[in-house]
Amino acid sequence: MVDSSILPLELDNVSYEIDGKRLVKNVSCCFEAGRSTLVIGPNGAGKSLFLRLCHGLLQPSSGLLRWRGSDGQTGQRQAMVFQRPVMLRRSVWANVGYALSVKGVSRAEREPIINRVLQCTGLSRFEDIPATRLSFGEQQRLALARVWALSPQVLFLDEPTASLDPPATHQVEQIITAIQSAGTRIIMTSHDLGQVQRLADEVMFLHRGRLLEQTAAEQFFDCPQSDLARAFTRGELLWWHRKNPLHPPGISKEISR
């Protein structure tokens, strides 16, 4: 790729609301080139919305989001992998081919690219079968192959391993690492702390729509700045109290018996 980088991506006081409910609140941050960022936080923290805002699938209700290095063609150079991959009802091969054809890659140029990414994701032997027949883990790998073929500068991943077993997770992580070493900026959500430690250079901690922390990964795990983040990394749920507990204290023993 000869064209210049679209990074850094800057968010200035970005909020997003649905029906008057603010789900992402006043997030300001910056994504520089060349590192991988993992966005973590409990369910409902707004991680997925945050990624969609960055990717441009959603428009912020207020605030400004801008690709500083861009010449307006940002959509062409970023891609996203979703938690539940959407497989087109055609062959594995044609699924990758479709992504390239949308990008305007000529038919002749597509073939070597498709062969390469299918090989790299271990899907070559499935190339002719319908993508919807793949297992969930294989589908997620195909989703990765599909975006890899596009060689994006920035890749957003929304909990790509959320419902995968450990071996499948391992394969997906390897592919993500490979994509990253090919020069793609990774921005990914996860709630698997082990995965965060394996993959992250930088951690963003979101809680109830607010960005509480954006720090280097080692620092985040060694000494998180906010007590919420500390509780989260320890797996404690102290900061979360249900107003009306399902079971009043003391009854739990009887229930378990």
Partner: protein, 253 residues
């Protein structure tokens, strides 16, 4: 009762001998209805898909209009097309009245709303599933439209068959605009109506049996194509359809 069984025997002998009149009538029926359904698909499918994913003023009104047109009474369509095509009508100069073309037009008007409305439903459901992914890949709505039609193909086939069913079984409209002229515009349904009123039950029954056979054949075909893993019509190497290989043994149940 004897007349009845005689009529059955005569009907079967007409079918077995491939009676020339009968073959001609069946061929015209199929030609007219297939042409109507294919033209309706060419108009109705993109229209239905556009209604499903587009956002333009009047979209809701158009959807309501198309849905209500699904139940158009055929004789009314026949009447309107007749008035349009008759000598003194606005399209009278074309001289189409009492030709197979006029019958195709009438059936097209009857079938197009069915195909468009069913396509809209199919595509709307698919779009809900695909929208984020396709937008993320950079596809515009117009780029997404053929993709959605392609991926909804098995359900859309059902829409086509529903349209074909209506077209081939239709009497009133083709009777009015075609005129049921022997060797020119006589199709299965109109000749059944005529032969019954003439009392020639054999030909009427023979044609009736043919109609039922066609219905069964069409449904059998759709079942063959539509059942999972049987997407034979669309197989092509690395094309839109599925590939050339059978599935690896380890993955079959």
């Amino acid at each position: 009762m004897n007349d009845f069984s005689d009529a059955f025997i005569a009907a079967f002998s007409l079918l077995i001998q491939l009676d020339a009149d009968l073959v001609e009538i069946v061929a015209l029926s199929l030609t007219v209805s297939l042409t109507a359904v294919l033209s309706a698909a060419v108009i109705g499918m993109p229209l239905g898909a556009a209604l499903a994913i587009g956002s333009f003023p009047g979209r809701r009104m158009l959807i309501i209009a198309i849905n209500s047109l699904m139940g158009l009474p055929p004789v009314v369509v026949g009447l309107v097309v007749y008035l349009m095509l008759s000598r003194s009508g606005p399209l009278g100069v074309l001289g189409l009245l009492f030709t197979p073309t006029a019958m195709v037009i009438a059936q097209l008007i009857l079938v197009m709303p069915i195909i468009a409305a069913l396509t809209r439903q199919v595509v709307e459901v698919l779009w809900a599933e695909y929208e984020e992914q396709l937008r993320s890949l950079g596809a515009t709505r117009w780029r997404a439209l053929p993709t959605l039609l392609m991926d909804g193909r098995s359900q859309l086939l059902t829409a086509l068959l529903a349209g074909f069913g209506r077209a081939i079984a239709e009497v009133g409209a083709v009777m009015i605009v075609g005129g049921n002229i022997d060797h020119a515009t006589r199709v299965m349904t109109t000749s059944i109506a005529l032969e019954v009123s003439k009392g020639d039950l054999a030909l009427a029954l023979g044609l009736g049996i043919m109609l039922v056979l066609i219905a069964v054949a069409v449904n059998g075909l759709s079942w063959l194509i539509g059942s999972p893993g049987q997407d034979r019509l669309l197989r092509s190497k690395r094309g839109g359809g599925y590939g050339r290989q059978q599935y690896p043994a380890a993955r079959t149940r």
